[in-house]
């Protein structure tokens, strides 16, 4: 008899006589072991680990060819033809052992450049690229890149491979093709056209200063789709053949007809359906091609089992090329096809899968009823799906890929929440999705639990158990908070309580609206959720709040570059109110000007490069006969203001308040002097360590040591100290009042999006020391409500109290990171206690919490020996990434974050 059984026997015997024993004695307290992933998964993931990020030119070639062959056509139809042809001609690759197939390109971790969006990068480097391509291949010894260093990233050129954007490898022989295609777009890429009109704004030079000083990071054109929830309803309900028929019916009915009072929209409908027909044909052909490839592979396959598998793939692909799926596997394959089709039509990240376990439940249920699938078979498919989603790469400009995304494309899968009827939405299939994510640990899809009091406890426990794997998912979102935000922000567009229940995460943390649509399958009607809006993460991009405060203190001049970012305010800052006033003046100007530029960027994108697959899938585009560009979606007020470094900013304000204004220990000039001199320390760039625990003194350190100590010891956010928390509330009040005054290119109000993604690294790098004692160049605090690393001295419950000092449903999101030592959550009791802590935060109205359950020790080891930790994952901003594929500044920051270890 094992010890635990014996212990429970003893306790049970005693329990009968002793009422004080309040433990439940009917279960063991050691958790069952997590089963290994399927051998099929193991085999394929081990190939994945060896894969290099690769771009190739097949899709750009065909897109470019057909686009120019259709010069003069209506933009959405021209787009549909070009993109449809590209999909229909790209080489379909199927690897032995796969059940679920399809890839972005012919390669495993493939992507491709979009010269029609951004050609200047390639054109500027055309000569250099060509020279590199002409150069003889390097010596044999250098030919293979170093495995493990940077994982799948191709950080430098070698042999016949040219590194693009320090991330992707491109074959030398394809360089001339890239250069040739890029030249077509020299004068008409989205980038160039938006640049032309942005520059016509009289204040454009100010926007340029924001960008040049990295006060604001990124342009919208670079990544115009994503941070939204896809919607798989159309093909799941109708199948592609029926969609084409419906297009024909609509064309017959309305082409050439305008509605009364038509401005443009009435006539647009006809072109819309023409375009939808073209793109649907392309999607269908793409699926058929995979079927044909599978047949061709089957022909030459000697192994009968593998031959059968190829044949099965062929059946699946040919069926979904035309009809409503007839099995769970077909339905999963079809959603994956749609997913790839959307992420291939624009550079994008954060195309969220949405609540897949609710969307596909009817298909799974039927297979179970028919006895054609077992739970284990479904889990295996879902494990393979994880590899597929993890393999989605994004080629955007270098800054976007490395800087914002840390290489992740944030294909977020949400679980839980409420169904249309207001009851829990959790389905049996969602348990299997969690199970697959627990067994088969990959970075994507990251999982997000929409926590609602109605969510079954056993589901929450299962998700909490998964969380303990240390891979950073699932993250936990507050369902009621998200719904409240939907009802608040989308009220004027007619948001209903039912639609509010369909919300989930677009991208890593961007709450995005959805709706339920009736799926007819298996003789019944199921209301399935899906996205109902365009991108909810494009707008005024990552604005460094601490940097803006620095500019208030420097009278508008960036000390690092000498650039005059704002007109000098020339005000003597005598009180905190003065600081707030000038800060808000600068903020308002920044928003006004950035907004105009962003609006032009997105407007040119939607006019010249209208999305076609997204316009087919998103409700209510097909019903209205309008593209997403023409506000075909049900909800359109999705454009945001993105902030970075909130807590660093609040802490700096708290230190100014305390040391300069309340206690008057130092004058503002003395403070500014200390900040400019980095408190007498070397900068992070000089030391190469971006973590706050490394500071190397210079000769001047003595002069500033007192002010430095006072700054470090000033009150910090996250300690349930109203002195600081009130500043956070004030900030939220000011900003939530500003947002509705800003109107997007859809004429709709903006809102606040408070996630840093990975920009807290680069934006911290360009910011001088700040009054909270953070040294120059050091990463900002991650998240928007989690304390700066090692500044929370009163424990996690105090952190939660500070974090919820304002109502999170006022904004799109609020980000909380918690690092927990694995020993604190061991065993079943540990799982329950992890759930307790999650629930504690949710009860307070916290919007989001995510956990890194890996010890700092392990992470430090992994930093030293990346080769031994190829599969180690951590949670960064709102997503999970392989440790070896993220940059050092972010690694340092993750290690330094406070760890709760009892």
């Amino acid at each position: 008899m094992d010890k635990q059984t014996k212990i429970f026997e003893i306790l049970e015997a005693r329990n009968r006589q002793d009422k004080s024993l309040d433990v439940s004695v009917d279960a063991g307290y050691t958790e069952e072991e997590i089963p290994a992933p399927s051998p099929r998964f193991e085999k394929l993931i081990n190939i994945y680990y060896q894969m290099k990020n690769t771009i190739d030119m097949e899709i750009p070639y065909w897109y470019n060819r057909v686009w120019w062959e259709n010069e003069g056509d209506v933009p959405e139809i021209r787009r549909a033809k070009a993109y449809g042809a590209a999909l229909a001609h790209t080489t379909p690759t199927i690897w032995p052992g796969e059940l679920l197939v399809m890839n972005k390109t012919k390669n495993w971790r493939g992507a491709f450049p979009f010269p029609w969006v951004d050609a200047s990068f390639f054109n500027a480097q055309a000569e250099a690229l060509l020279a590199e391509a002409e150069a003889p291949a390097l010596a044999e010894a250098d030919r293979m890149s170093v495995v493990g260093a940077g994982g799948g990233n191709v950080t430098e050129s070698y042999g016949n491979v040219v590194s693009i954007a320090q991330k992707f490898g491109l074959r030398k022989e394809e360089v001339p093709i890239l250069v040739k295609i890029s030249r077509y777009w020299d004068n008409c890429s989205i980038e160039v056209v938006t640049q032309k009109y942005s520059e016509a704004i009289p204040d454009y030079y100010k926007y340029k200063a924001y960008r040049d000083t990295v006060l604001v990071m990124f342009d919208s054109w670079a990544i115009p789709q994503g941070r939204e929830i896809i919607n798989y309803y159309m093909p799941l309900e109708y199948g592609f053949d029926r969609i084409i028929e419906m297009c024909d019916e609509k064309i017959a009915e309305i082409l050439g007809l305008a509605e009364n009072g038509d401005g443009l929209l009435g006539m647009s409908r006809g072109y819309y359906y023409m375009a939808m027909k073209e793109i649907t044909k392309g999607l269908s052909a793409w699926a058929d091609n995979y079927g044909k490839r599978a047949e061709s592979l089957a022909e030459c396959e000697p192994d009968p089992q593998q031959k059968k598998e190829y044949e099965d793939i062929a059946v699946v692909m040919h069926n979904i090329a035309h009809k409503q799926p007839s099995t769970f596997r077909e339905a999963l394959q079809l959603t994956f096809l749609c997913h790839l089709a959307v992420v291939n039509e624009d550079p994008q990240s954060g195309q969220s899968i949405g609540r897949l376990g609710q969307v596909l439940q009817p298909f799974y249920e039927k297979d179970l009823e028919d006895g054609t699938i077992t739970e284990e078979e479904a889990i295996e498919l879902l494990e393979l799906y994880r590899i597929k989603i993890t393999s989605i790469e994004c080629f955007a400009s270098s800054g976007v890929t490395g800087g914002v995304l840390s290489g992740n494309t944030f294909n977020n899968l949400s679980l839980g929440g409420l169904a249309r009827d207001g009851l829990t939405a959790v389905t049996p299939l969602e348990y299997l999705i969690v199970e697959a994510g627990t067994r088969a640990r990959t970075t994507q899809p990251t999982l997000s639990v929409l926590y609602d009091e109605k969510t079954p406890e056993e589901f929450l426990m299962k998700a909490a158990r998964c969380c303990k794997g240390g891979q950073g998912y699932p993250a936990w979102m507050n369902n009621q908070c998200g719904m409240n935000y939907m009802l608040r922000h989308y009220h004027d567009e007619g948001m209903t309580v039912e639609d509010a229940r369909a919300w989930c995460l677009g991208g890593c943390l961007e709450s995005s609206p959805g709706c339920f649509l009736p799926l007819h399958y298996n003789g019944k009607t199921t209301w399935i959720p899906g996205g109902a809006a365009p991108t909810a993460g494009t707008g005024i991009h990552f604005t460094g709040l601490p940097k803006l405060l620095e500019l208030v203190l420097t009278n508008g001049v960036d000390k690092r570059t000498g650039i005059k970012v704002f007109e000098p305010h020339n005000r003597e800052l005598k009180t905190m109110d003065d600081v707030w006033d000038v800060w808000m003046d600068y903020m308002t100007e920044l928003c006004d000007i950035s907004l105009k530029v962003n609006n032009i960027q997105m407007d040119i994108w939607r006019k010249n490069n209208p999305p076609v697959v997204a316009s087919l899938l998103k409700p209510d585009c097909f019903t209205k006969g309008q593209t997403l560009s023409n506000m075909g979606c049900r909800y359109n007020s999705t454009i945001n203001f993105e902030s970075c470094g909130t807590v660093t900013f609040i802490n700096a304000m708290a230190s100014l308040k305390k040391n300069v204004f309340d206690e008057k220990k130092y004058t503002l000039d003395e403070m500014m002097d200390a900040l400019e001199h980095n408190f007498g320390f070397k900068t992070a760039f000089e030391t190469g360590v971006f973590s706050p625990d490394r500071r190397e003194a210079t000769d001047e350190a003595v002069k500033y040591e007192k002010i430095f100590t006072d700054c470090v010891n000033a009150p910090k956010f996250g300690n349930a100290d109203p002195y600081v928390d009130d500043l956070m509330v004030h900030y939220e009040d000011l900003m939530t009042a500003l947002m509705p005054t800003l109107k997007s290119y859809y004429g709709k109000p903006l809102y606040m999006c408070q996630i840093s993604v990975s920009t807290h690294g680069p934006q911290g790098a360009i910011t001088l020391a700040s009054a909270d004692g953070r040294l120059a160049g050091v990463t900002y605090a991650d998240g928007s409500v989690s304390p700066a690393a090692n500044t929370d001295k009163n424990g996690i419950y105090a952190v939660f109290t500070s974090a919820t000092c304002y109502d999170h449903s006022r904004n799109q999101n609020a980000q909380m990171n918690v690092k927990i030592h694995p020993s604190a959550v061991a065993g079943i009791n540990g799982t329950r206690k992890l759930l307790d802590v999650i629930r504690a935060y949710m009860r307070k109205g916290g919007f989001h919490v995510q956990f890194n359950i890996t010890s700092s020790k392990t992470l430090r080891e992994a930093q030293k020996k990346p080769d031994d930790y190829r599969d180690l994952m951590v949670r960064v901003a709102g997503f999970t990434q392989y440790w070896c594929e993220i940059g050092k500044p972010i690694q340092d920051e993750v290690i330094y974050r406070t760890e709760y270890e009892m």
Partner: protein, 314 residues
């Protein structure tokens, strides 16, 4: 004006998961009547304002000398490399600890704060929102019973609010104090470090008589709470079969059936150094997992539920 009692608290830890049922807030009192030779929290022995010098986080190697003028008593000295040290002969009697405000690295750290009943209860009320249905507060230390007046006042407020209350105690107090505090407790860990009075005295500075008597009295009283005995298990001190058998006998006599053996660890060693004390258990006392398992079996065979380390059913 009657002064509100105050307590000397050296730490409050939230989300504590190994000190009673559910998620808890641990309140560490300073001051202890025992002086265990292996103690993991030696900073909690004396009930007074104290500080620690954590030279591991000191930034002297990065050129910091911010504490050079911080001690008015001249205790802080720098060696030829610029590394600071403190003179414990001076510091042990210091009541003012001015030095701690000079350090930005957290190396010179105040470890004790004085809290009123309402200070502490307000913190617990804040944390009450987070414990979940099983959790609560655990008073530990140091020795919480040393502050029984204050603790009783705090417990009274906790029970008004229906909080779940627990204690970790050496059990070393008068029976009156012991019983007074326990009537407001739902859960208790009481340490029985050695069954032999002499050995107990050698290891902890006091005999075990009072502790065992308190446990007997508690059980006699029909106290409705849950009592789990605890034993830090140290090789060469209390890991013999003989000691275990005597403890089993004691437990059987008193209707006790749960014990938690904690494998000796050396996590407190740096604190001894930081406090300027020599740590005697730096190279012995370790238990093998095999021996822990044997001891566990011994208890289980005698129908006592024995848990090792964090592996508990609560």
């Amino acid at each position: 004006m009657s002064a509100e009692p105050t307590g000397m608290i050296f730490d409050i830890q939230s989300y504590s998961v190994h000190d009673g049922p559910g998620c808890r807030t641990n309140v560490f009192f300073t001051g202890c009547p025992l002086k265990c030779r292996w103690c993991a929290n030696p900073e909690s022995w004396r009930p007074k304002l104290q500080f620690m010098f954590a030279d591991r986080v000191c930034k002297w190697d990065q050129g910091c000398k911010a504490c050079r003028d911080a001690c008015p008593h001249g205790s802080i000295q720098f060696d030829e490399n610029g590394k600071p040290s403190v003179d414990w002969k001076i510091c042990n009697d210091c009541e003012t600890i001015e030095c701690t405000t000079s350090c930005a690295a957290g190396a010179l750290k105040q470890t004790v704060r004085i809290m009123t009943v309402s200070d502490l209860v307000n913190t617990l009320r804040r944390d009450y929102n987070n414990w979940g249905s099983d959790g609560g507060v655990t008073f530990t230390g140091g020795e919480p019973l040393l502050h029984h007046e204050y603790l009783d006042a705090v417990l009274k407020e906790c029970k008004k609010l229906s909080m779940h209350t627990a204690i970790e105690t050496s059990g070393y107090a008068t029976e009156e104090v012991f019983m007074k505090i326990f009537r407001r407790l739902d859960f208790a860990f009481v340490d029985v470090k050695n069954m032999d009075p002499e050995a107990h005295k050698w290891g902890t500075g006091v005999s075990n008589e009072r502790i065992l008597n308190n446990i007997r009295a508690l059980k006699r009283s029909g106290w409705p709470g849950r009592l789990v005995l605890r034993q830090p298990t140290i090789h060469g001190f209390n890991d013999s079969d003989e000691n275990a058998k005597r403890l089993i006998e004691f437990m059987n006599e008193n209707g006790l059936y749960e014990i938690n053996l904690l494998k000796f660890h050396r996590l407190g060693q740096t604190k001894w150094e930081q406090l300027g004390k020599e740590y005697e258990y730096s190279d012995h006392g370790d238990m093998t997992p095999e021996r822990m398992s044997e001891l566990q079996d011994l208890y289980l065979d005698n129908n006592i539920a024995c848990y090792v380390g964090d592996d508990t059913p609560f």
